[in-house]
Symmetry: C3
Subunit: 299 residues, 3 copies
């Protein structure tokens, strides 16, 4: 699969996105008119993507701008996440970054009063859609962090399903220093770490180390820099070796049940378990285990 | 009180279970017809229970099957939990296990397509009812873990009010390896540990150590193996020495207020405090404190 | 600003309190009739407050009674928190305590049956109002803890936005020992630390150390006793140097979005970001950053 094809999308979205979500995303894509009309010459894409053996690597690739989440960067990332996301060839996505800064958050030049409030709204809505999309995708998304992640960059790490970081990485929500409180990053941060930790980060802008981020739940794992790729790939390869429909059903159900009350959550997941057992890969896995052999996934 | 009497239950449930919960539990008990009719010779019970000085010890006792939570095991556990749960003689429950595996989760032989989807549904519903029951019980339930707890076994630990483990214990939700995503365990796990930790466990199946489980909130305490019983009994004896109605009111209120918004939670608990002060044991405790003497509980 | 003026309040509350909240608070203030009529000679205030450079220090000042949160203490604290809270001169509040006990919780002499249930209700409602008020205030509130904080005293720490403690501090909810389960403290505790930790504290009454409290999310930071004031003041001065409307908008939005579902939370905060960008201090901060100079806040 070539990265070149990543931009092309039809008007109809996949089922797992849901109608309303897709409508909003489409609106986001189309709100500035057809790309060709406004941008006769496309600038270089701020992300690059390649896929091999079911593992898609998306790299934030604008190190000179500290991988700022400009509107162009956000749309490029969104496009790379959405591209053929339903394909059986895709099993897991890794988001990493070029250079010493994972991402510095929004591009502040897009947020001056030279742009309209409508433009500012588009920036924040697109950013929120990308964060929501990560959870909606039918495959796990892993953040691989090697450096500083601040503001919406920290939000991106917090929004991924799994996050592996090198021990030299650090995390901050310093918007308050420049008069722009990290309210949208606070959504993801406030659901990842204890409230006291989130508020100290948000009110002071002070960074926390990778070890502190691990301690407080922002990260899944911290490793020395030289082991970062190896450990991330180990997790990605493991996930890529599993049954795709089983992982997809599990991810969707996890996020669906989490905000429910306990009884509703168990009602919902008990039905999922019955459905999962009835999947072909469910029966194959259970039988392989009983027969003490390796399962052969159909999908 | 003899363990022998543990199976006998009347048709009417205690008030704290609630009508709907009891209806479902009764249906669970009765769905396979009267025990005597279908099972003229009862197999050995997969759990054993004894009670002394207000402390009930329930032991998962099928080490050859790695204490799998078969339907029989789940019903036996449910029965031991429910038995005379309203009795003033019962103050606290400890769930432990025989052998090196605390519990390996569901019995996969019950989940092949040789059984109907209705049977699979009964397995998962009964399991969910047991997990919900632990929170509904009027006394605290402590998991004492000395070994491996996986899948629904890990869920059982996560569902207890308190969990003490030896440092050699470990915890995993490896269902995804056999094509059966741990969606029901994810309900309890996702409410016990940070989302990033839960998802890495669920997506990779990799185990976490007792120390990691403590760090992330799955456990209350980790001790060396030789101190496990002593520490667990210390906590149990402490709880057994307290006023039963006060502990019972406190437990019910805690779970009731937790999912509420802050103002509703304070409204609800402020009323509980007034009711608690008005309890005979409430007044006895307060007066004993003021008079610098030990309280003498009525109940 | 003199502490002497702290008691005087008009009938109308500030907008951020909300109508219903204010009605309840006013009712709380007035429920015992005009102060002058019942209390011709005012007793010494159980808190003291002073404010300098935007930082208000409120000190629980009844060390002989272990800074018990008597009704008088609660109302004095409430008054000190509310006093001119809308003033631009106020940027951040620190709550600390005189003596080796931060606070021992409710004054048990107010909870005997010599007082009416209505009186008990007033105690718990006023306490809950103070805890809710801390989150409603338009400036951050920091707990600076140097010693033991138990029951409602522990609740007060858990309710602050940020909490810094000396390493000799400890935290407990021991109400169960005297027949009065810490149900209201459980509201704040259950939202600050993992459920397993909260329930062990609530069921056993056992204290946890400052390090454990940090590990589990009850504290933002732990420092040696001799650095406690310095570190707390460092955080307070940092917050006092920031734009007040930006901090205020950020704090209100954080607590508003936290209980919402993810999509609603992003919808709400995306709008806040657009509003924040449009603030004069928002534009000043962004432009100062782009121009590589220090921002000059208007407010």
């Amino acid at each position: 699969m070539a990265a070149a094809g990543f931009r092309a999308f039809g008007a109809k979205g996949p089922a797992w996105l849901g109608r309303s979500a897709w409508a909003q995303l489409s609106a986001g894509f189309c709100s500035r008119g057809p790309a060709g009309a406004e941008r006769p010459e496309l600038p270089p894409r701020p992300t690059r993507a390649r896929q091999q053996d079911g593992i898609r690597n998306i790299v934030l690739n604008d190190p000179k701008k500290r991988n700022a989440l400009s509107l162009a960067m956000l749309k490029s990332l969104q496009s790379d996440l959405l591209h053929e996301a339903e394909s059986k060839d895709l099993r897991v996505i890794i988001i990493s970054a070029e250079g010493p800064v994972f991402s510095s958050g929004h591009d502040l030049k897009e947020l001056t009063d030279e742009r309209s409030p409508e433009y500012h709204a588009e920036v924040f809505q697109t950013c929120s859609e990308v964060m929501l999309l990560i959870q909606k995708l039918p495959v796990p998304v892993i953040a691989m962090v090697n450096g500083l992640a601040t503001a919406a960059g920290c939000q991106l790490v917090a929004s991924c399903d799994i996050a592996v970081a090198s021990d030299k990485s650090s995390f901050a929500t310093p918007g308050v220093n420049i008069g722009l409180f990290c309210s949208t990053p606070g959504v993801a941060l406030g659901r990842a770490v204890p409230r006291k930790v989130a508020l100290e980060m948000l009110f002071t802008g002070d960074p926390i180390s990778a070890q502190e981020a691990l301690l407080h739940g922002l990260l899944s794992k911290v490793v020395p820099e030289e082991q970062l790729e190896e450990e991330t790939m180990r997790i990605a390869k493991k996930i890529a070796s599993l049954s795709r429909p089983v992982v997809s059903l599990g991810k969707a159900t996890f996020y669906k049940q989490l905000p429910q009350d306990l009884r509703t959550a168990y009602h919902l997941t008990s039905q999922t378990m019955v459905d999962n057992v009835a999947l072909k890969d469910g029966q194959e896995g259970i039988k392989a285990f009983i027969q003490k052999r390796k399962p052969i996934w159909l999908q």
